[in-house]
């Protein structure tokens, strides 16, 4: 098997899970750039003859580092947010979430809201830690999370009122 085939096999084995990991955290557009960059690094390592160090863990660590850097940037750029008491949409328990539908909703959220949702619900970080990471007071972070949850539900659930979506 040629080296090119080896790398192609590596891509086939790991691209989807690494992309899914990134897309759920930063949305599709940023995920595309992050994942492409990480696999370029992998290719660089592979071409140096160090392909034995490459693994799923190698890829996810680098993907995560880039995502954390992205979130820091988003937090720096975000305007201080105020609480918005949008009416809560109906919550449907046990919804079979369609990945595309979820990613569509995430893509519509402002970066700061996407970041806090991912930090809280994918990374499992306590609100205090999320607040520290985005450099916001604890209460403001709770309010941003609440706003993000509502906006996400309004966007992701077809029955929810679209007017609840942020601009």
């Amino acid at each position: 098997m040629s080296e090119s085939d080896d790398f192609s096999g590596f891509v086939d084995a790991h691209l989807d899970p690494v992309y899914g990991f990134a897309a759920a955290r930063v949305g599709r557009d940023v995920a595309d750039a992050v994942v492409l960059d990480v696999f370029r690094s992998a290719r660089h390592t592979f071409d140096r003859g160090e392909g034995e160090v490459l693994s799923r863990s190698w890829l996810l660590t680098r993907t995560r580092n880039r995502i954390l850097a992205h979130w820091r940037l988003v937090a720096e750029r975000a305007e201080p947010d105020s609480a918005v008491d949008a009416p809560a949409p109906e919550v449907r328990i046990g919804t079979d979430w369609n990945p595309d539908q979820v990613l569509d909703a995430l893509d519509c959220l402002p970066g700061a809201e996407r970041a806090v949702l991912a930090l809280r619900y994918l990374e499992g970080r306590p609100v205090a830690e999320v607040a520290h990471m985005i450099d916001r007071p604890h209460v403001t972070t709770q309010q941003l999370l609440a706003k993000a949850r509502r906006a996400f539900h309004a966007l992701a659930l077809p029955t929810a009122a679209p007017t609840a979506a942020p601009v």
Partner: protein, 56 residues
Amino acid sequence: MQSQSDVFGLEVERALGAAAESPAPISLRKAVLDSVPNDGADGTSGPPQPSPDREA
């Protein structure tokens, strides 16, 4: 009994988990396979690659 906030949170967690199962678009797969290796400038892939001419 769970508060509405807890329920929201659980559903968001489930939804984001579903999103993580999303496959990479074909265009990205092609871009990855066609990509030129980066130079490791972010420090995550080792030192910058020496010039390809060096070995010749």
